[in-house]
Amino acid sequence: MSQTTTPNTAAGGVADFLDTRLGASKAVRGLSRKLFPDHWSFMLGEIALYSFIVLLLSGTFLTLFFVPSMGMTTYEGAYAPLNNVPMSEAYASTLRLSFDIRGGLLMRQVHHWAALLFIASMTVHMFRVFFTGAFRKPRELNWMIGSVLALLGLGAGFSGYSLPDDLLSGNGLRIIDGVIKSIPVVGTYLSFFLFDGEFPGESIIPRLYIVHVLLIPGLILALVGAHLGLVFWQKHTQYPGPGRTNQNVVGFPLLPVYAAKAGGFFFVVFGIMALFGSFVSINSVWNYGPYDPSPISAGTQPDWYILFIDGALRLMPGWEWTVAGFTISFNILIPGLILPGLMTGILIAWPFLESWASGDRREHHVLDRPRNVPVRTAAGVAAIVFYTVLALAATNDLLATHLGLSINDITWTLRFTAILGPPIAFWITKRICLGLQRHDRELALHGRETGRIVRTADGEYFEVHEPLNEYDRWLLVQHDARRPIELPPDVDENGVARPGARKDRIRQKLSRWFYEDRIEPLTPSELAASHAEHEHALEAGEGEERPVVTTGR
């Protein structure tokens, strides 16, 4: 390859330089031809990625002026009601950022809006992945990485919320302190370890600062790399449709289509966050004053993603035990630690739970339509309802004043809703999914109702149905049947108990819960029969049963 033609453009020169030294052309050739399927819901994760880039950019600006110290100082600057008031360096520098540094308030607001939208977009991305079953084999690991990313997002958000050292952030930290102290035996030690002494101490701001600007962003960057690398390596999933199979990817190449789309989308996301930061106030720290452990403001709440923990704390009855002279505060321990721990555990374990129940060990690259997996969809909706009820409970004081209700009634109503709401939502969603499946079946068999009523010469009335074209019909009939697993009997023909039979009974129960109620998908023979009846020309199917998901081990 020493004998090359000399490129005669500047870009060509650069490309040649890189190619002869790094072999860049091979990588570009491979990457640029990589296909991605096109759907709006595949761009939700991109919103999160771009918000994170906005966070890094605006956050870097903020670090240039923010002083992560709890040392005492007095603010001297443009905001009159806090002028010459003693406060921490952290709060004074946040005020200087807001009022005395050009562009500082804009950057603070862009950073905070980007943080809220970062976690919100991760959440909707996670909804998409969950409801379409994109977490199934081989993507379970990426689901776990994504879950950890979401948790790190919460950590990043909360540590950032605590940094300005205003009244609001200090009150948030006080709740965290209380939650840590509720851990039996070691709680008080952990609290003293974290705050380097009695709350609030003088170390928490510099400690949280390093967590916020180095530790968590570093971990997020590394895991985002792994997350995207796996999407590349395992290829992107695609929605079902004519011509789309588990063996192919139908979409557009990275270059030029996705490079342009994704690049453009970054600027759209950045632009929206800049607009929000410019025009809509967020976390007006100057209103709250410096942190002082005695006062608190009405309407003190965390940012949206922590609302559910605050809400759980507000809903929990005041249960407290004293065991051998030690107080165990279930009123804080359960909502503050045990409940969020359980929720996170179920979230991370879900892909394995579901594959255990279905016995499905195949790879899936074609997504599920949510209606075709009623129990998963219903469980997801129930989880969202539970989370939302808890988040609403954290806003009980604002609900009371703005809707003219009694805060006591709201708390009691939400206590019941938190327990009864998710099962009701589960049941309703499951029924809706099954109903939609039945509707799909009808549509595939008989076509769309046109609303045209025709009277025949014999006086018979009927509604004209407009048959679907075969592309539309494919979407309604492409999915596999899912049935509960069938396990061998507990005892073999010689009366010997099978090892693991008890575990299998649990598995059988779970599997039945998942797949007992179902609408069998249409088989080609059913379709053919129906269409023959409707006197439509249709290629007859082979007439055999559809393949059913293989069951058992």
Partner: protein
């Protein structure tokens, strides 16, 4: 109409119908929604005329001699400040029994309020209408900082740090302080209406009260430095905005970007 009838079974028809219903309901509410007017200041009072007004408007609950009934407390010794606050903010006369008397447009003129106050003040000694010297707003940094600190320590736990209001138990609430006159604020502090504690001159000196009022009025007059303030309610209204506008707009952009294909 034939074309419309043919399209009514289309899937989009439901969406359009729902949208129309929402727009109509919203527009109807916007027309019918109540609006609020403001109360005003007082002039010197006439006890005799005040008594006539009292008998006509207040005696049915507070008793002919203002000594109270089962329905309402005695007004002997509540002072002119209490009457001026309750009547000029429209809380009294009470429209109906509720956990708390809401602020509403007053039915009385300034002269009526002054006469009523003079009558009730004549029944027994109580907090008087504040002197004008304490109602002037201060603008120096030191007073504003003092007022802000006093407000955070004494008032913010119910009224919120910027006086946006907050909830109390069983449907009671600390009302928002926007649009309340300095005189009414002062009177509220000295008389402690409804669930509010009394801040007498030993607690908060008249100058302290003046600082608190000056801070609140400063907040009201200053534009929000960060842009649209979302009601100054803190993280909850920000959360609502992030989801209702942020996520919706971002998803809209994603839909738009992928609209031409597939």
């Amino acid at each position: 109409m034939k074309g419309l009838a043919a399209r009514r079974r289309r899937p989009l028809a439901t969406v359009v119908l729902l949208l129309m219903a929402l727009v109509v309901t919203g527009a109807a509410y916007a027309v019918a929604a109540p609006t609020f007017a403001n109360a005003s200041t007082t002039a010197a009072g006439d006890v005799q005329r005040g008594r006539d007004l009292f008998v006509a408007s207040c005696a049915s609950c507070h008793g002919a001699q203002a000594t109270g009934t089962r329905a309402a407390p005695s007004l002997v010794g509540v002072g002119a400040a209490a009457v001026d606050f309750q009547v000029s903010t429209g809380r009294m006369p009470l429209a109906n029994t509720a956990p708390q008397a809401p602020r509403k447009p007053t039915e009385f003129t300034q002269q009526d309020v002054a006469d009523l106050s003079a009558y009730v003040a004549s029944l027994g000694p109580g907090p008087a209408i504040p002197e004008d010297q304490y109602l002037n707003l201060k603008t120096d940094d030191e007073s504003l900082a003092k007022g802000a600190e006093l407000f955070r320590v004494n008032c913010a736990m119910c009224h919120n740090v910027v006086g946006a209001g907050g909830a109390l138990t069983r449907g009671k609430y600390a009302p928002p302080l926007e649009g309340v006159t300095p005189k009414q604020m002062y009177e509220a502090m000295v008389t402690g209406p409804q669930s509010m504690p009394v801040f007498n001159d030993a607690n908060l000196s008249p100058t302290d009260k003046q600082d608190v009022i000056s801070y609140l009025k400063y907040l009201e007059e200053q534009p929000s430095p960060g842009g649209f303030s979302l009601g100054s309610l803190g993280p909850v209204s920000e959360a609502l905005f992030a989801w209702a506008f942020g996520i919706v707009v971002l998803i809209g952009a994603a839909v738009w970007l992928t609209a031409k294909s597939s």
